[in-house]
Amino acid sequence: MFGKRLIEYVIAFMALIILNFVMPRLMPGDPIDAIYGNELVALTPELREQLRAQYLLDQSIWSQFLHYLYSIASGDLGYSYAGKAPVIDIVAGALPWTILLVGTALFGAITIALFLGIESGWRRGERLDRYLFAIFSIINGIPGFFIGMILIIIFALNLKVLPAGGAITHYAGYTGSEYAIDVARHLILPATALCVSELSWIYLLMRGGIISVINEPFIKTGMLKGLDDRTIRYRYAARNALLPVFTRIGIQISQIVAGILIIEAVFTYPGIGYLLHDALLTRDLPLIQGILLIVTISVLAINFTMDILYPRIDPRIRHV
């Protein structure tokens, strides 16, 4: 079964690679223009020749493709002429910040959302549930950037307690704990915005999950066993509602990616998302391709890991 899933992921990956490969070649004019065409980059004839040779544009489409595969395999994602650096280096510089932001926000979002979702679903119809459900239903419709901007307007622009963007205070000479606090200060707003916008749908998912298991007989069994409420809520209801919720989170990883993209752009947070946003604005196509490739690999890897882990977590899947 994993074999089959793996093959699917490989096919999906190949499909994206092919798309990456074909798009510039489908564009009108010279693919070099499509790949590097940018009014701000002066392409000298020599450079153009050099690039043509580099991309084997004078050779058959197949050898071009094989070469393309080879360069990807060897970690060469192309060269950003706007950024004057290999794409892989640029991406590598931004990746840790994204991981920090996404890690904090998603950890927060998932923990809080699951907690609230469980408590709210368990108390379905009670006041707490009604309020939470109403609040998060509304937040669910608000785009993340919107939340971000409002946070900026309140906390950065008016109250001036937190920075409006960036990841660190540049050259403030902080070291050690000062540096950590500085990073944390910069992290608070974007992480909160991302957290809140992801929180809402995970909460709704979790609440729905709890509601769908709350009438299952094993919940009654748990109560009959004289277990305390919390054990039943977490070991019985949540544990069983969680698994489908996690699959859904896996499915909706695209949404998370989009959320990151937007939040990083709003907060000029120097991660992959902002990089992509900038690359889109400057049409730095090698960089766009490279980032998307990295994103694809990450998403596929996460999904595949979840696929592998899932049966280990859920005995129901294992024996179907």
């Binding site: 094993f218 066993k225 004289g226 069983n240």
Partner: protein, 591 residues
Amino acid sequence: MLEINDLTLQYTADFVESGIIRVLDGISFYLKKGESIGIIGESGSGKTSLGMAVMGLSGGEVSGEIRFGGVNLLDLTDEEMRVVRWNRISMVMQNTGNVLNPAYTVEEQITEPITKHGLDSKIGAQERASLLLREVGLDSDKLNAYPVELSGGERQQVLIAMALANDPELIIMDEPTASLDVLTRRRILGLLDRIKEERSLLVISHDASTVASLENLIVLYSGRVMEAGKTDLLLKDPRHPYTRDLLRAHPFMDTTKDLQGIRGKMPTLYDLPTGCRFSTRCTQKIAICEERPPELTGCRVRGEDGSQDGDGGTYRRIACHRGGIHTLLQVNSLNKEYQNRSRNRSRTVAALNDISFELQVGEIVALVGATGCGKSTLAKVVTRIFKPDSGEIFYDGEEIHAIDAKRFHKDVQMIFQDPLDAVNTRFHVLKIVREPLEIQGKIEKQEMIRKVKHTLDEINLPSDDIFLKKYPHQLSGGELQRVTIARALITDPKLLIADEPTAYLDPSVQAKILKLLMRMQNTRGMTMLFITHDIALARKVSDRIFVMREGDLVEQGVSSDVIYSPKHVYTKELVYGAEGAAGYIYKSIRS
């Protein structure tokens, strides 16, 4: 040990007019230490809610008392109740797919209540879990299995093992044998027998055979106790119409009669009848039944030999305004003699010789005997066609000759052997069928035709004008017999006497007519005296069988008893002699 007094459970619901759904209503019973008790009833009767109420998990408003070990469980706080659960009372939920937490292994689920209640360490609990599994007959390698890996029977065993985990004094089991195959079911029942030796057991089931081995039985209907008592007595001789109907619907191995459902539907919980809950389906209801619900009181019990005998009511209680299944027809010491005038010698022949019996509301009694044994005479005496020489016949408590003729014949109708003989061949169908109504009078013509059509529809005859205008010779034997049945049914009789109604019909038509009669009996809740010479036929249709021989009623009893353990020599002859014939009939019905 467990004493339940006037337990009432109701839920508020805003979608109901009354705002209240009453699930349990005034339940009282007690269970002594070490005793076992079964609760049966159709689904929706409140059985499971009763179990949940005892466990304190029914939700809703609970009133009354649930005394366990002297303490009213309803007075306990949640925390205190939590300690009672599983430690002192455990419950085996109905074995559905998700009754076990799918995310944990069997071992984790068995040990969980032990460790959570702080009874033992984790290791100790694990040892106990493996012990328990062996006790319920499972390999201990199932400990590491997840619920999805278990078969239905194994799951039931695990559930029971789990219920035993904290060594409770009382175990409540909800449908422990539902949806199990025969062998597994036997294994589980065996397990129940072992368990009830050590602790108290309350088994909830819709299946009477599951609770057959328990000491006491309670019959629950729409949240009220209908009947309660010793299990063996109750199963053999149900006194409440509901109990009887429930058992009739249940396929016991030794049942001879075809299965019959209980007519009508159970009332919905938010729209309960004000009177007796069973009144909407009862075949013997009277005015008071619809006015107020009956109390659960002691009742008389019929002895092994069919004689009446009273029991103080401790072990046998019943909730029925009419004191249980009502006797519709009571015949006491009936005698009738014929003067047989042949060859100038007049001989007195005893056609009926000191006949006594009872017919109860809603039952089918087959009167079996050879030709000339006095069956038809008895029928005619009972229907007031002949007068008996001596003896009394009470219909619904009244001496039949004192009853107004029209009223009597409205209630007591008869179907005759030879349909062609029994109808006026100049009459067409409409006339034939409406004749009793015309005789009864007081009815509009249109209403009469409507009733005729309705009755014909009921017995699957065409009701169009062409058919109504047909004459008896235009009809087949089966059709004609149906017409006579329609004629008999049109006055809504309470007692139907069918005198060899299928004697002139070929087997396949006979089968259809019999099915029809049984269906009509069931839906209309009639009492039927079915007269036949064929004991095999009697076995299939009747609740009880009377055997007659030369004017004597030699044996009467529950059909299965009569068939499987005939007591009278003549009965034995009939039964053994009929085996071949029965086989023949069986085959012809199938073909």
